[in-house]
């Protein structure tokens, strides 16, 4: 019942390494890596500095919005809904960051740059309702996120590639997503 149909001597492209040498090779290769520094980001003591153009949480600039609702129409996650704001004739978008999948399509379709992507991704909320923001809340929150971009709470490390070591993290200066467009 346990017939193995492969002839173990075949296997054209497969070399048959000497067993003792192969064991030693494997151990030596793994051991060499022990001498190298870890490749992980020491999160959350450090935060990752996102590369330029990174798609973080979406920022809303109220004063630029023309209330066209295209952002709400394209949003695949229905994270953007249009709201009636007291004292404003037009509908304005509100944002549920808990639903957002950071696809950035709303930013791509906004005809007046009233939306932009930030470089901030990791945010903590105290409860679920505070993730769902009406237009005014969203605009105020966006300003706070921009402040956070400029002066982050934790030191930043930026990922860069190295031909010998793969990913390495270097100290980085805060950058701004240029949120104002």
């Amino acid at each position: 019942m346990l017939e193995r149909s492969v002839d173990r001597r075949r296997g054209g492209h497969r070399s048959r390494p000497n067993v003792v040498k192969a064991h030693l090779d494997a151990i030596a290769t793994a051991a060499k890596r022990l001498l190298e520094p870890p490749i992980t980001l020491p999160y959350p003591d450090y935060m990752e500095a996102r590369p330029p153009g990174y798609r973080g949480v979406i920022l809303f600039h109220y004063e630029k919005c023309i209330g066209c609702s295209l952002c709400a129409q394209i949003c695949p996650a229905r994270a953007i809904k249009m709201y009636r704001v007291p004292g404003d004739k037009r509908l304005r978008p509100g944002y549920n960051v808990g639903r957002c999948i950071f696809c950035g399509l709303c930013v791509d379709i906004c005809p007046v740059d009233a939306l932009s992507e930030s470089l901030v991704h990791d945010k903590v909320y105290e409860d679920v309702p505070s993730m769902d923001m009406d237009p005014v809340d969203w605009a105020l929150w966006s300003r706070r996120v921009m402040d956070e971009e400029r002066s982050p709470e934790k030191p930043l490390l930026r990922a860069r590639l190295d031909p010998e070591r793969g990913i390495v993290y270097e100290e980085a200066q805060p950058a701004s997503s240029g949120g104002e467009g």
């Binding site: 019942m1 346990l2 017939e3 193995r4 149909s5 492969v6 173990r8 075949r10 296997g11 054209g12 492209h13 497969r14 070399s15 390494p17 067993v19 192969a22 064991h23 090779d25 494997a26 030596a28 290769t29 793994a30 890596r33 490749i39 590369p51 330029p52 153009g53 990174y54 798609r55 066209c68 295209l70 129409q73 394209i74 949003c75 695949p76 996650a77 999948i101 950071f102 696809c103 950035g104 399509l105 791509d108 379709i109 906004c110 005809p111 007046v112 740059d113 992507e117 990922a159 860069r160 590639l161 190295d162 031909p163 010998e164 070591r165 793969g166 990913i167």
Partner: protein, 402 residues
């Protein structure tokens, strides 16, 4: 009926049939390794008599949801079947809709799509190798592959602004032009990965322990592979020269694409094909970067109606969409989109009645086709061979369940 307890597994004795004592064993009540699913294994002593994969834990009705959404909103929906291979999973859908819309992406966009597809393929193969490694208790391979996958996720995030769910190809082109730093970073990634592949050979592929676990296990002949409908590296490891990229979609037709084909059809060969495909993908990206045509990255049809206030972004390599993009109407008709993902061929069958949403979107993913291999390959092997077989076919439940 007696319960049989093994670490991490529960089984029950089914009694005897034909004089054999058969035990039914649940492997991974919900999540054996690569995702949510369960294998019900019937054993006679230590020998596998039958394997029933219990699938559907992560079924999200993607096909039905697609019927209620506008075409552009479906891109990030289908992406969620396989977020670790995002460009490969969305591209055939985007190309199918493009055919119904009658738009041609400019050459530069086709090349950029190919570059991201190959970056994704490498990341997907590294993911598969890592999971395959931990199945065999080889945690070094697991850690190394996942660490090195980060290199390619970094490359993808430079190009698209997102680590995994890129939503990069859209109808008519791509969403970002190649950033300045990409070529230089890729050069480093290539040199690093080629050196690492030599180390993988030493620590994993030529490691006598791994050879002992994988060689001659789960053998699938070419004839069997075709009859079972196996796809991707699993099919090519059995010596069948087929890869959907040979149809020449995106820029593959211009890059002298040659598939990696194995011969033995055993678990070790499937690992070998993945390792060599990483090399081949690095070479393809290199070729695509060298041959990258100049020009726009989005079809003129859409860019000419972008509002003047935001046109300046196009010159800075960022896409802006016209308002009409949300409510695109296709011509009525039926199209088939196909492409090669990391795990094999994905097929979209799109039926449009001329509206803003598809009438029907049928999706067949590579893992959905490969799930039959569990039973076909494991029969007659011992229970200890099952992790080796599972690891070698690189099965990904969220992709299979849709």
């Amino acid at each position: 009926m007696a319960l049989v307890q093994l670490p991490g597994m529960v089984g029950r004795e089914l009694g005897s049939s034909e004089g054999l004592r058969v035990v039914e064993l649940n492997i991974g009540a919900q999540h054996p390794a690569s995702g949510h699913m369960r294998l019900i294994v019937y054993l006679d002593g230590d020998v596998i008599v039958r394997v029933d994969p219990d699938i559907g834990y992560v079924h999200r009705t993607v096909e039905k949801l697609a019927e209620g959404r506008e075409y552009v909103r479906i891109i990030s929906l289908v992406e969620r079947m396989t977020i670790i291979d995002a460009c490969n999973v969305t591209l055939p859908y985007v190309e199918a809709v493009e055919r119904l819309l009658g738009v041609e992406p400019p050459p530069r966009a086709r090349y950029l799509r190919t570059i991201l597809c190959e970056v994704n393929r490498i990341a997907s193969h590294l993911y598969g190798l890592g999971i395959g490694g931990i199945f065999l208790n080889h945690s070094t391979m697991y850690m190394w592959a996942f660490g090195d996958r980060e290199v390619f996720i970094h490359l993808a995030s430079l190009l698209t602004g997102s680590r995994l769910t890129h939503t990069y190809p859209v109808f008519g082109g791509v969403r970002r032009d190649l950033p300045q730093v990409f070529r230089e970073e890729f050069e480093k990634a290539k040199r690093y990965m080629l050196r690492r592949l030599r180390e993988y050979d030493k620590v994993f592929f030529n490691n006598p322990v791994i050879r002992g676990r994988l060689e001659g296990v789960g053998v699938m002949t070419a004839k069997q592979a075709v009859a079972l409908g196996a796809t991707g590296p699993n099919l090519r490891a059995s010596g069948v020269r087929y890869d959907a990229r040979m149809t020449g979609y995106a820029a593959y037709g211009e890059l002298d694409f040659e598939p990696v084909v194995g011969s033995e059809g055993d678990a070790l060969e499937r690992v070998w094909v993945r390792l060599r495909e990483i090399e081949a993908s690095l070479e393809l990206i290199d070729r695509a970067l060298r041959g990258l045509p100049e020009g726009p990255f989005m079809a003129e049809k859409f860019t000419k109606t972008v509002p003047p206030a935001v046109r300046h972004w196009l010159g800075k390599g960022r896409l802006k969409l016209p308002g009409s993009y949300v409510r695109l109407k296709t011509r009525p008709g039926e199209v088939l989109g196909r492409g090669e993902m990391g795990r094999g061929e994905i097929t979209y069958y799109l039926v449009s009645d001329g509206g803003m949403k598809p009438y029907r979107l049928r999706i067949v993913t590579p893992s959905a086709r490969n799930v039959v291999l569990f039973d076909a390959l494991a029969r007659g092997h011992t229970l200890m061979d099952l992790p080796a077989i599972y690891g070698s076919i690189d099965y990904f439940p969220p992709e299979a369940d849709r």
